[in-house]
Symmetry: C2
Subunit: 518 residues, 2 copies
């Protein structure tokens, strides 16, 4: 199976979204004003940085790996904060919506154009690392920088630090802030909602530029304007510079262990974490996916037990830390019915074990060739995960569709074109991504019904419709039920206060049920 | 020296604040309307829960441990979210300002009344633990619950979890959110700006009640409304219920080591942390404070070397983790000139070493009997700390006042009336609290000048005027210089949008330079 084959499998029509229809704000510019805005962009920027070429528009209305496109009117490529200010001022002058475009790995249509169309601001040329402060364990970069590139750069420079937020391959720092992302390392390092972003420079809809903080690690100087932009999906401002905190890069080792059920695996995970063992990642592959691994690897030397399994990364400054962690982990796992505990003794063995986890998604596509897939992103309190899995599996069986639950295949740096679009279980955070495979329109409808049921289960269990993928267009309809009308209204107040013309990524994040435009 | 003696020393006039003068918003109620509001509170609440007794008003306009008072018009004690809604609706009906009162340990006058006076909402009766979810490592409580009480309760119930944010003794959860607090454990666990608060129920100025999230550990469902209230000091809403995340309670050990200079100590701290050693706290006592320890303990068995010293807490699930951490720590410390590395072999020895650190503030009061003290709270990137200390010490010497730099004396659970009002150095976060002792009005003026100089040094080094104490009335004047006018204007927009009548804790957090009221 080549990379090209994989790419075919990752070209379904895209996440099914009905929200691209935005009732037009009557204050938006006329077609003539849109044209004037484009003319003014062409005057302000070099020819190669402003495009209305249909191919370019199509690509920029598309999520990486998907074939559907919801294009904007024009794509412009800024190279500095000043450039972004210029674009925002033109957008405001002619009342043309404006959408920032980062790595395009978002899964809920955050970068899609809507019926209102407008200006797509492609941040790819703003990807520089501006300052590295090794002694402070932070760096300053532009928002187009990708987390994978940052970590590779640090490694190449021999700086023993890394940025631990690890969402989809290709995700940019600006997009990671805007989505409120996380990743496999959330078990140890938390998420974008934590303290990994120290400061951001943001261009507001007014054209004003703010710096949310200075570079010190702690700050309690006024409202937390930084977190206002984390998860705001470009609806409140466009991030143009970011200070990120780095973590010490520690040696890691891999372990794999099988359990009688998902519930046993959950209990073992929770206990191991509460024990204070140095775990970096815990990933689940359920029995169905372990079967897929065997199918995929049918000529290989190894046959996996087809049981719910945990893949675990242990970290520690020295071998003593790692061995002690492994000893405790094994004891906890065995207490909860874990069997075949395998601990990689060498780097090569660790690589081999982790490769199986990396291969899981490929293996799924081999088991269900030609299928399309919908990934889900619900999250519940950890103790509720077994209930969630039990209820969901019942639904999956009734629906008659294959729905394996798999762990992150995220850090596959060897597959730069590949995106974990339909992947992982952030297991110990209670974040479940079941993958619903389907082949035709009828099955797609059933799959959609399953997504709605999963969300309902999550909300019933005090959880959320989205643990890390964000709202975009796809999850808007669940927000009021999850958070209550007053909370969503508060978001609306804030949006209207900061972006009174509704120009920044309109129609995303939440429904405007009580306003003249959606 | 008895607790009573200590209390005398902690009764200076309070932090010098000039901001209690709030130019009256012309929309505030008339004296007759204030009286009507109080009448309506008396109808809505039991007699014992509404007070205009001058003694009660005085106490509620006072920071714990200080003698100055800036009283409100009336104090009311709610017992539920519904009660708070009732109070907020009365406040809005008669346009009377409203200030939430938690543990009163804030250091910048956040709970003070202003010239506009108004309703003080005393949250002390809302201190219940509502739910404990051991398997999820979280609990739900009311905002009047104190972090120390929560940790004692968990210990008594035998639940091996704790809440790691550890600001001043007596701080309540609601106040900790509102100040954006941290504490000695910030080295390992971060601050209130991180992910320790999972969800909050908040009463908005409109009287609406929101829940910012559900209980799942991760969530990317829309704007981060939770962080909007972290550090907002009650200016945007009153928190009435909170879900907090807990951490595994791990065994700890204590080490003490001396260095040739603060710079050597900084470098050792940074390297040890970047090494990935399991450190929980690192506290600095400078040479002057080590001398104070010897003065204080002059009849004791131990004489400390009068050198800049680090007090360190190491944590680990098992003795193997702790011993390995101590081994690495010692090597790193010695590499940077550390001497007399002392590692407590037993719990009793650890307790003895940590007691010295706990006693530091008392020792300072013994060395400077009858003095008043001003604590500072600047924070810079860690690598800039030696520059900051060097520049500051020059200023201190020139001013001729004694200004020791000491570590947290925070967890002195044995001193419930004692508050670390003028304490600590969150060293590895670059957070410096120098204590400026002074005896008379002339020296107080000099001390004030030193505070301004310290803030200037911090800002010159890309730092902040407040690492963890917040803004309140005391730090408002520095915000524009630190963050820029646009950022402070953004805070103002948000405030005006959520609290258009400026009723919630008016005059706190930021200057309203461009509005008719301060």
């Amino acid at each position: 199976m080549s990379d090209a084959d994989i790419f075919v499998y990752t070209q379904p029509r895209g996440p099914p979204l009905s929200g691209t229809k935005v009732l037009l704000n009557s204050n938006y510019g006329s077609p003539a004003e849109y044209a004037q805005a484009i003319d003014e962009l062409r005057i302000a920027f070099p020819a190669e940085d402003v495009s209305t070429d249909p191919v370019v528009l199509d690509v920029h209305g598309q999520l990486a790996g998907y074939s559907n496109s919801f294009p904007h009117s024009v794509v412009v490529v800024p190279r500095s904060t000043g450039d972004v200010v210029r674009i925002v001022n033109i957008s405001r002058k002619y009342r043309v919506p404006i959408v920032a475009y980062g790595g395009a790995t978002s899964l809920e249509g955050q970068i899609y154009g809507t019926d209102a169309k407008g200006i797509c601001v492609d941040m790819s040329a703003m990807s520089k690392i501006l300052e590295i402060h090794e002694a402070d364990a932070d760096l300053v970069c532009q928002p187009g920088a990708k987390w994978t590139d940052i970590n590779v750069m640090l490694k190449e420079k021999g700086i023993p630090l890394f940025f631990p937020l690890d969402p989809g391959i290709g995700a940019s720092i600006g997009g990671m802030i805007s989505t409120g992302c996380s990743g496999t390392n959330a078990v140890r390092y938390g998420t974008a909602k934590g303290e990994w972003f120290l400061n951001a420079t943001v261009v507001l809809p007014s054209g004003e530029v703010i710096k949310t903080r200075r570079r010190s690690r702690k700050c309690s100087a006024g409202f937390d304007t930084l977190h206002l932009f984390i998860g705001a999906e470009g609806t409140l401002g466009i991030v143009t510079e970011v200070t990120i905190r780095l973590a010490p890069l520690l040696p890691t080792r891999v372990a794999v262990v099988q359990f009688p059920s998902v519930e046993h695996a959950t209990r073992a995970s929770t206990e191991a974490l509460n024990y204070g063992v140095n775990l970096q990642c815990i990933e689940l592959l359920d029995a169905l996916f372990m079967k897929a691994l065997n199918t995929y690897n049918k000529n290989g030397s190894r046959t996996w037990p087809e049981k719910d399994s945990l893949f675990i990364k242990i970290q520690g400054a020295t071998p003593v830390f790692i061995e002690e962690s492994a000893r405790i982990l094994r004891a906890v796992a065995e207490k909860h019915g874990g069997t075949n505990f395998e601990f990689a003794a060498t780097d090569a063995q660790a690589e081999e074990l982790w490769l199986a986890r990396k291969n899981a998604l490929h293996a799924g596509f081999v088991m269900f060739p030609g299928a399309k897939a919908i990934g889900t992103d619900i999250c519940v309190p950890v103790s509720r995960l077994p209930d969630l899995v039990a209820a969901s599996k019942k639904d999956f069986d009734a629906a008659g569709l294959p729905v394996p639950i798999i762990g992150h295949v995220g850090d596959g740096l060897s597959l730069p074109t590949f995106r974990k679009q339909a992947a992982p279980t952030d297991f110990c955070t209670g974040n479940l991504h079941a993958i619903i495979y389907h082949y035709n329109d009828e099955e797609e409808k059933i799959a959609q019904g399953l997504v709605a049921k999963l969300v309902k289960h999550a909300l019933d269990l005090d959880g959320t419709c989205t643990g890390e993928h964000g709202v975009g267009l796809g999850k808007k309809k669940y927000l009021v039920e999850e958070l209550g009308e007053s909370t969503v209204e508060l978001m609306k107040y804030i949006k209207q206060c900061i972006d009174p013309l509704n120009l920044f990524n309109p129609g995303k994040v939440r429904r405007y049920d009580k306003t003249p435009f959606e």
